[in-house]
């Protein structure tokens, strides 16, 4: 059962307008059968301080990452997570979160690995909801467990591994980290913890487009014309390009993946979640330092 789409004019200029909902739309549709609202934040306690009524919390560390192997949870763990969150295979999921929906986009990308059909983002996330003075509650819902099927994760379409990136060299790469990380001055985002990369710099030929450029000051996505100016004019992407985006651990780049694929309509976009913490520590992979993209080495 698909909950009706948000027909806001702003979204219609995007390639997949059905992937976004506005704060007005969400407020009106809270409690609609078939709709599950998910909060996914960087700060693991933010949900507890207050969240949208009825929203369930899904945490990237605790729920989406495998606790042992550096990977996402498997089909069984995902099914169990969906079941306890009250999600059925045909639920409409709306995800929102802090920091311009950074982690919400990451959750949406992981849901997409499992082929969950109808998953959307709340444009502007927590910041937009709060700026409009909308209500939060501290009451956590207790959803009825569902019978979510065990679905194998499909890593072949929207996820790239290191070897895929090596094979991709020569085609567009977007490095969504800060300019300091891109040039090699540092290996972590300014003010972020060291997550371990032995070498600094970027993958040869990658264009640097920090992920946050896709969001306006109010936390909402920029319009189509502005996105075109950033990614087509600025980073040189063109129709038909196959693109790989990466950051440090794959979270910021899932935001850019959402923008390139769902908002701008690039068909073949993959997120390299190994990202710099893998590439920057891998043996004998090419690295370029400095502010220029650099050339792809001959193979």
């Amino acid at each position: 059962m698909v909950v009706e789409h948000d027909a806001s004019p702003k979204f219609q200029e995007f390639a997949h307008p059905e992937r976004l909902v506005s704060t007005d739309w969400l407020q009106e549709h809270l409690g609609t059968p078939g709709l599950v609202v998910v909060e996914s934040d960087e700060d693991v306690l933010l949900y507890e301080t207050g969240h949208i009524a009825g929203a369930v919390k899904i945490d990237w560390h605790l729920d989406l990452n495998d606790p042992v192997q550096r990977d996402y949870v498997d089909g069984e763990a995902f099914a169990a997570l969906m079941s306890r969150s009250g999600v059925t295979r045909d639920s409409t999921i709306v995800v929102y979160g802090d920091k311009n929906n950074w982690w919400a986009a990451y959750a949406l990308w992981v849901f997409s690995l499992f082929g969950h059909e109808d998953v959307r983002l709340l444009d502007g996330g927590r910041a937009a909801w709060e700026a409009e003075g909308r209500e939060y509650t501290t009451q956590a819902p207790s959803p009825e467990p569902t019978d979510y099927p065990v679905v194998e994760r499909d890593d072949t379409v929207i996820r790239a591994y290191k070897d895929d990136v090596l094979a991709h060299l020569g085609r567009p790469l977007i490095d969504v980290r800060s300019p300091e990380e891109y040039s090699g001055q540092r290996t972590t985002a300014p003010a972020y913890p060291e997550e371990g990369a032995l070498r600094a710099g970027h993958i040869p030929s990658a264009q640097n487009v920090p992920w946050g450029k896709a969001a306006a000051d109010d936390g909402r996505f920029r319009g189509r014309a502005e996105l075109d100016a950033i990614y087509r004019d600025g980073a040189g992407l063109a129709d038909g390009d196959s693109v790989v985006a990466y950051c440090r651990i794959g979270e910021r780049s899932s935001h850019t993946w959402f923008v390139l694929h769902h908002l701008m309509g690039f068909e073949d976009v993959r997120n390299y979640d190994g990202s710099w913490t893998e590439w920057g520590s891998a043996v004998r992979v090419p690295i370029v330092q400095g502010t220029e993209p650099g050339a792809v080495p001959a193979r």
Partner: protein, 166 residues
């Protein structure tokens, strides 16, 4: 350390303030530990008025995911830790509040000798908030201890005799 005699009972043991906090967390189910962390977060006191207008006195903890600033005082060998972090970073506020409550009132010597660097890993938060996030608290503690060591060195002697523990 110096030859200054330490008369506090239980030298070498985790100070009672921090042991209590640890036991409180460990007594709870993993899910409920987040609620307790939120309580700590809400209890983080405002900065003393004299530091409000002095951002230069505060040290930013770069390892934390959200802007958090700390300032540690050592007066007559007794520690007072202050911290500030934004409302929208409740986890970081909670970490800072645990340390501010646990360290304030201890002697500098107690903190440097009896508070292990891995205290944050021992209070049951690794399972509740993830190992990566707890690293931010470890960094907070590390910086607090470094400030205390520096200030103690400046003052000449550590753990002034007669200074009371918590």
């Amino acid at each position: 350390m110096t030859a200054v005699a330490d008369t506090a009972a239980g030298a070498g043991d985790l100070p009672a303030s921090l042991a209590e906090i640890r036991d409180e967390f460990l007594a709870l189910e993993v899910r409920d530990r987040l609620q307790l962390l939120l309580e700590f977060s809400n209890e983080l006191p405002a900065l003393p008025a004299e530091y409000e207008g002095h951002p230069d006195l505060l040290e930013r903890v770069e390892e934390c995911q959200s802007p958090v600033f700390i300032f540690v005082e050592v007066v007559d060998g007794v520690v007072a830790m202050h911290a500030t972090a934004p409302r929208e970073a409740p986890t970081t506020r909670g970490f800072a509040s645990i340390l501010a409550q646990g360290l304030t009132g201890l002697t500098a010597q107690q903190v440097l000798r009896d508070v292990p660097d891995d205290y944050p890993q021992t209070i049951g938060l690794v399972e509740a908030v993830s190992p990566l996030r707890v690293r931010g608290m470890t960094a907070l503690l590390g910086r607090a201890k470094r400030q205390i060591a520096e200030k103690t060195a400046q003052a000449g002697t550590a753990g002034a005799p007669g200074a009371s523990g918590a």
